[in-house]
């Protein structure tokens, strides 16, 4: 199957998305007040990154590097699983990931990632806020997803800019909202959170209304609002209210994108029937239609007890879903413009505790990058024999984030202004991307 023959349901809706996706000027623009204030993200010199997209596979709770990308069989820290040869000579992965092992020559693996703190919220907040932002004091910065959603968004897009799937509920107080804030970027880049299902709430026509009445009701609201807005719309918050209402119909028109029954059975089987797999398939449909950032949160990896049972059950699903997603993106000709990341709050300890668990670990763990802007088959950095420390090429969270921005063509030192005027760079001053993994 090549990209020209990508299967669709035959609906004209796809033509619509494709046109929007190709940079057409269809449709309405909502919630742009905040954007205008910052200048359009699509300046002339930046056109080359127009169609870039990012999918973040978030291993919530912390995937063990020992049971995945950096096994240490036979060592005291190694655990019961074996390592297998991969498609990159000399690089071995956990036997729990045979499918990824067979295609790892198309991915870059970083085994020397280091993060300074290892809490579920603190660490991931810092990381998602773009890599240990001690440099901004307590000025909140937008999350990675919101930044990428904005940087990679297209004007006049009919699709959302930031979608976040959860196959489990975030168990910590404050909830997922803590992780993803668009702040001064504007509401358009806030995530649409979809937890434990495949489509967001409220995108279907309610049964109590006809489609005509639904449209008429909104038109009536707009007429009523017009007088109020006329002399107040320079206020970004007032403008965002109208803008968000205007995007409701656009979201409803996109309902089909979230419907995987439109995919051939063979494709659905390849992703598997776990919620994570199904959400990944929706994610592919979304990026294909032009959604610039999708996050897939796979919970719950926090294996303080029974680490090996948890990984024996979860890693094969990750292996299936990730390999299916990458293969699918490749077959549809999307992989060169789509960056797929695996990341988490932390890795897991070399020590195996009394409950046969592994605890939180920041000193050395593994992350991966595949696709857009990435040099395939690079295995960057290494850990020592027991996996207790970085042996070569330490990579910091800030450096990793810089690499992500650079891979999709964004200057990682680009400056935003916080509301108090303080300059905030996408990554801290003097951060360098990991050039070894960049194409």
């Amino acid at each position: 199957m090549n990209k020209q023959q990508a299967p669709t349901c035959g609906s004209s809706e796809h033509d619509l998305h494709r046109r929007a996706f190709l940079g057409g000027t269809l449709g309405l623009v909502g919630g742009l007040a905040g954007l205008d204030a910052l200048g359009s993200p699509l300046l002339a010199g930046e056109v080359q990154r127009r169609h870039k997209r990012v999918i973040l596979l978030w291993m919530a709770g912390g995937l063990s590097q020992f049971e995945s990308w950096d096994p240490k069989p036979g060592r005291r820290t190694g655990g019961p699983f074996q390592a297998i040869q991969t498609s990159v000579p000399g690089y071995r992965m956990s036997e729990l990931m045979p499918r990824m092992a067979a295609r790892i020559h198309k991915t870059a693996v970083i085994r020397s990632f280091t993060s300074p703190n290892t809490g579920h919220t603190g660490a991931s907040v810092f990381a998602l806020m773009s890599g240990d932002r001690r440099d901004t004091g307590n000025v909140r910065t937008p999350s990675l997803g919101c930044l990428l959603g904005r940087e990679l968004s297209q004007p006049n897009s009919l699709v959302p800019d930031h979608v976040s799937f959860w196959n489990a509920t975030w168990p910590y107080s404050g909830g997922d909202k803590q992780l993803d804030f668009a702040l001064f970027l504007g509401s358009r880049y806030e995530p649409i959170n979809i937890a434990s299902r495949l489509a967001p709430d409220g995108i279907r026509l309610p049964g109590s209304l006809t489609d005509a009445d639904h449209r008429a009701r909104e038109a009536l609201r707009q007429q009523l609002a017009a007088r109020f807005q006329a002399n107040r719309n320079s206020d970004a918050t007032v403008a965002s209210h109208g803008g968000s209402y205007q995007r409701v119909r656009g979201m409803m028109d996109n309902a089909g994108l979230f419907d995987i029954s439109r995919e051939p059975q063979q494709v659905r089987d390849r992703y598997g029937h776990s919620l994570f797999g199904q959400q990944a398939l929706v994610a592919r449909r979304l990026v294909e239609a032009g959604v610039p950032f999708v996050r897939l949160t796979d919970g719950w990896w926090d294996s303080h007890g029974e680490n090996f049972e948890i990984h024996a059950s979860k890693v094969p699903t990750l292996d299936q879903v990730m390999s299916a997603l990458l293969e699918d993106l490749e077959q549809r000709g999307l992989i060169d413009d789509t960056l797929v990341i695996t990341f988490a709050e932390m890795g897991r300890t070399p020590q195996i505790n009394a409950q046969r668990g592994r605890d939180h670990w920041g000193a050395c763990w593994s992350v991966t990058l595949t696709g857009c802007g990435i040099r395939p088959g690079v295995i960057h950095g290494s850990t020592n024999a027991d996996g207790t420390g970085v042996a070569t090429d330490r990579v910091t969270a800030a450096g990793f984030f810089a690499t992500i921005f650079r891979a999709v063509g964004i200057d990682h030192q680009k400056e935003y202004a916080a509301p108090d005027g303080r300059p905030i760079r996408l990554t801290p001053y003097n951060t360098e991307p990991v050039s070894a993994v960049l194409a």
Partner: protein
């Protein structure tokens, strides 16, 4: 640091207030509203900006209800107020006397005191009680930092207790909330804008909380602590000592290093023993002679320093009602960051201190100016916010939205002649049934309405079913369509429908006369989802 230098730094950080006492402020006996207009008008004249005209009476009534009682007026209240020209002083007096005042301020202060800190607890029960008895702000401050002599059942000191696990955040929150100065940058380096705000200030403030600990849910203090050192950017080590933001230092009696270490060990052991025995004995470890948090409160509220404390709450309340602080941002109140109306800020702070930190008086005063009651409309680009030439358009908080939604949905809840007690009881019932609306977000600086909110309000069957469910049966009792529209607009937007709106709704309903209930429901939806309902304007 010599006394002289300490004073100099104090002046720098406080915004040179010490010398400003001599300047000719308006006399203290003038009403707050008049003073506000005096200073605001002077600046407008200087900038040659003609401010927006007064807002219509119905708008001011709605604004005052939302700002003082956290809800829109019920239809009957709004209509009653519209029967005669607005006497805003009378309305303000009525609203601040109402129990809704305590409820609403408890909500607002609860958000303010959290300072977006995920560890911060809700202190609503305490705040309701405090506002009901109009507890002065300095007393509340002592309660909140656990420096009060009389413990309260509602545990205000949880403000500190729940933040103990992150002393840096506690230090930041206390400095920001009560003194308007976020000193986080001084944690790692000198403040970039205030040269004299060195790391000593951050660690000096933090030191007031070093001896605090959580004993079985009680906020206690140890007798013996070692304050330790911090390193500056060059790697040089500095000794920490307690120091208030003005530069006032506190020297503690301390033991020689060796003895101190032994005393700390002994105290730790004692606490451990008391912990073990606590279930049976309910006995607390002994309290120290020197109470650091009480000392902080004493210093912050003494004559030399209290203006900082007063200015911070004045500025925060000003921000709440005028949509923009006299100093922006509200946690960056220092000498290098000038107030837009320095004399006004100073006058208000002086007034607050002179009236024993009476928040009710301050709030009632802040909303009594002409500047407050201006229109929020402006053709073209509005003038700079710090001129206060036009009233702000502020998104409702979740609490304001929820109460307003319920009030609007039940227009018959109040009768025009309800005695005040009956009205209060009805309000309490509404509040009990108010429920929460998770899809309405707590606004923050530069807040924008996300897509979740209109999706929920547009398409959620549960929401749609509830919306108007109590209003429609009431409206249907009215004989004709015009009256129904009239009542619905009063109920939701707190004003009569304009002729254009009457025509618009008439034709909308006419097209749906085969399904009149649905038509009304949709009109009602449009009213509820209009920005005019969503914002305090």
């Amino acid at each position: 640091m010599t006394t002289h230098r300490a004073l100099l730094v104090a002046a720098l950080i406080l915004g040179s207030t010490l010398s400003a006492q001599a300047q000719g402020l308006l006399p203290p006996d003038r009403p707050i509203g008049e003073v506000i207009d005096h200073y605001i008008d002077a600046k407008l004249a200087q900038a040659k900006v003609k401010p927006a005209p007064p807002a219509p009476d119905t708008t001011v009534v709605r604004r005052l209800f939302l700002d003082l009682n956290g809800r829109i007026p019920a239809g009957v209240e709004a209509k009653l107020a519209a029967k005669q020209p607005l006497d805003n002083k009378k309305l303000i007096a009525m609203l601040v006397a109402s129990p809704g005042f305590a409820r609403h301020n408890a909500n607002e202060f609860d958000v303010m005191l959290r300072n977006s800190n995920a560890d911060a607890p809700s202190l609503r029960p305490y705040l309701v009680e405090a506002f009901q008895e109009n507890r002065p702000w300095d007393v509340m401050f002592r309660d909140l930092i656990g420096a009060s002599e009389t413990p309260s059942k509602t545990k205000p000191e949880a403000f500190v207790l729940k933040r103990l696990k992150d002393a840096d955040a506690l230090t930041r929150d206390v400095s920001s909330i009560f003194f308007g100065l976020n000193i986080t940058c001084a944690q790692c380096h000198r403040h970039p804008e205030i040269k004299d705000l060195t790391q000593d200030y951050f660690f000096g403030m933090k030191a007031f909380f070093t001896s605090s600990y959580d004993f079985q849910g009680n906020l206690l203090e140890r007798q013996y602590v070692k304050l330790g050192d911090f390193k500056d950017k060059k790697g040089d080590t500095h000794k920490v000592s307690m120091m208030f933001l003005s530069g006032t230092k506190v020297e503690m009696d301390t033991l020689p290093e060796k003895e101190l270490f032994a005393a700390i060990q002994a105290e730790a052991k004692l606490i451990q023993e008391k912990t073990k025995a606590y279930a049976k004995s309910k006995e607390l470890p002994p309290l120290p002679k020197f109470k650091a948090r009480k000392r902080l409160a004493d210093i912050a509220l003494d004559e030399a320093n209290r203006e900082m404390f007063a200015r911070s709450i004045v500025n925060r309340l000003w921000f709440r009602f005028y949509g923009h602080g006299l100093v922006m941002r509200v946690d960056q109140m220092h000498a290098e960051n000038k107030a837009s109306h320095a004399e006004l800020l100073q006058w208000l702070a002086r007034d607050l201190i002179a009236h024993k930190y009476d928040l009710k008086r301050l709030i009632a005063g802040l909303v009594s100016s002409r500047a407050y009651a201006r229109s929020s409309e402006w053709q073209g680009t509005p003038p700079a916010k710090e001129l206060f030439a036009v009233a702000p358009t502020r998104p409702l908080t979740p609490a304001q939205w929820g109460m307003s939604y319920h009030i609007a949905n039940q227009p018959d809840i109040f009768k025009a002649d309800d005695p005040i007690e009956v009205r209060q009881k009805k309000l309490a019932d509404v509040e009990k049934g108010a429920g929460t609306f998770a899809f309405i977000e707590q606004p923050f600086d530069d807040f924008q309405v996300g897509i979740d909110e209109p999706l929920k309000l547009s398409n959620d069957e549960g929401v749609l079913k509830a919306m108007g469910s109590k209003l429609i049966p009431v409206l249907k009792k009215l004989p004709d369509m015009r009256q129904r529209i009239h009542e619905a607009t009063w109920a939701v937007l707190s004003r009569p429908a304009t002729a254009a709106e009457q025509t618009l709704f008439d034709s909308y309903l006419e097209e749906r006369k085969d399904r009149p209930d649905e038509g009304l429901r949709q009109v009602f939806w449009a009213l509820f989802n209009s920005p005019e309902f969503r914002f305090n304007h």
